[in-house]
């Protein structure tokens, strides 16, 4: 049966020069099906709670949360820009050193931020609020905003069972948990690649053939080049950290240490999963935090981003150095192994792609984009808490 299926699949791939072998086909199928379900976060009792989602939605777009009242979460994570800002490096109240990552499908991540400084979506969500370069506010400020707004206060009470209080850390954590509940709903939909992948899975050669030939060649090149070793699974990421040869010097004698600094921060974070604010009393979700280990190789490593929706999220890399997908693909084609940390990933080698192969890989990557992922979500009902 398996041979029959693979035979059908191979027929579907005849549009590409040469014949995909069984291993390539198997690897392509591992990138689906999509979408995948998002499990509730045991560390966040508000995860999946309708009132928390409604509250989080409102907080996400509310610039009053920032110190100057002018910067909202959505300022940098703008839906129309694929939930990023289109800038090389973020700009909140001041310049930030890194590119704004999209929050599309962020609920599927294991670690958060480019360096994994947060071990939960809720603890990540509260960090920009208090970062002086981003929103520059405080727990006290958040508490005042939520208490003073009748709709927010009402939704807060429905979400958490008690009215919003004055305690700064609690206000911050609850805002983070409401934001996380909302962000769990920010999901991208199906793409041209998903239709192709599912057609292969069910042996529908006709449907598979509708996927552009260049993208088909790019898909095969993607797995043949072992890009899928790090960009694996339906979300096209292994959720971990790698040094891919992007320089980490920030200028003026500063460096971005990436994961090594992220591990220090998450361990020191009073809002991490080992602390009192986690709602997971079993400690199950904190296993990663208990066991994460820094090594020499952690320096200069950054999180493997998902490749979904790249068509919306330029520029690329942790520092936004590449304006186009073609530039990013060229990076891997011309990879300077001397730039990779001496403890770096031995898997990485320059792909030495031809211009046509670069075109094919770009076509494949563009096919991972959900055209509807830039839509602004409707404001959830206020659940009797106001307009």
């Amino acid at each position: 049966m398996r041979q029959l299926l693979l035979g059908v699949i191979a027929v579907a791939l005849l549009a590409t020069p040469g014949r995909a072998d069984d291993a390539e086909l198997k690897r392509l199928l591992q990138h689906g099906p999509w979408p995948v379900s998002t499990p509730r976060d045991p560390s966040n009792a508000a995860s999946g709670n309708a009132a928390a989602i409604a509250l989080g939605h409102r907080l996400f777009f509310d610039a009053r949360l920032s110190a100057n009242g002018a910067v909202a979460c959505a300022t940098c994570h703008a839906p129309a820009r694929g939930w990023t800002d289109g800038r090389a490096r973020a700009l909140g109240l001041a310049d930030v050193d890194r590119n704004t990552p999209t929050v599309l499908d962020v609920a599927l991540h294991r670690w958060f931020s480019w360096d994994g400084r947060a071990d939960s979506l809720w603890s990540q969500s509260l960090k920009p609020i208090v970062d002086p370069r981003e929103m520059g506010a405080s727990g006290e400020h958040v508490a005042r905003i939520v208490r003073a707004d009748a709709t927010l206060a009402c939704l807060h009470a429905k979400a958490f069972g008690t009215p919003p209080g004055l305690e700064a850390d609690r206000a911050l954590v609850q805002a983070g948990k409401a934001l996380a509940a909302f962000l769990e709903t920010v999901r991208s939909g199906r793409t041209a690649f998903d239709d192709f992948r599912d057609a292969l899975a069910r042996g529908d050669a006709g449907a598979a053939a509708r996927y552009p030939a260049a993208a088909q060649r790019g898909a095969r090149l993607f797995v043949k080049s072992q890009c899928n070793v790090c960009h694996l699974g339906p979300a096209f990421t292994n959720g971990e950290f790698h040094d891919v040869g992007v320089p980490f010097a920030l200028g003026a004698g500063r460096v971005d240490a990436g994961r090594s600094e992220g591990i220090k921060r998450v361990r020191a974070d009073r809002f991490n999963l080992l602390g009192p604010w986690s709602d997971d009393r079993s400690g199950t979700v904190a296993v990663k935090t208990r066991h994460v280990e820094a090594s020499h190789a952690s320096f200069g490593q950054f999180k493997t981003p998902s490749l979904r929706n790249l068509g919306h999220t330029a520029p690329y890399m942790h520092d936004g150095r590449y304006a186009t997908l073609r530039d990013a693909v060229r990076h891997y084609s011309e990879l300077d192994v001397e730039r990779i940390h001496t403890h770096g990933e031995q898997l990485l080698r320059p792909l030495k792609l031809t211009p046509g192969e670069i075109d094919d890989l770009v076509a494949f990557l563009e096919s991972l984009t959900d055209p509807a992922a830039t839509r602004v979500p409707a404001v959830p009902p206020a659940m009797g808490c106001g307009p």
């Binding site: 198997k26 294991r110 070793v229 694996l232 292994n238 990663k288 066991h291 190789a297 403890h343 031995q346």
Partner: protein, 141 residues
Amino acid sequence: MEERRGPVRYALSVTLVALLIGAAAVEACELPAGFTPRGRLESAGVTVVFRTLPPAIELGRHFAVEALVCGDGASPVLTRVDAQMPEHRHGMNYRPTLAGQGNGRYLAEGLLFHMPGRWELSFDVEAGERRTRLVTDVVME
């Protein structure tokens, strides 16, 4: 440290049947009830019988290893469980914790394989002055 590689290589995405052993082969380790071993490694005088929890390892999912260690002569002690990807020249991004549970039984928690390919799962055992590393391959697909 002496390194002994187990005779087993298995693809966990399929099953682990290649290494399943009969209870008779590990009688010396006195398997507790319900302990279905996934692999058995032997070096001179030392045997490690282990299972993974959950039984099927998934890429990107934490898992634990429960091991029974037994041997001739000096009581062997399991001192470390770890894993490496030799071709990539890196290990896991997590350091497993190891807890003894008595009677030669150990629980290592916090392992995670984050990439497909060949991993070497290793068990460091001390028996008197002798240190032995027993290694088995785990191929993740």
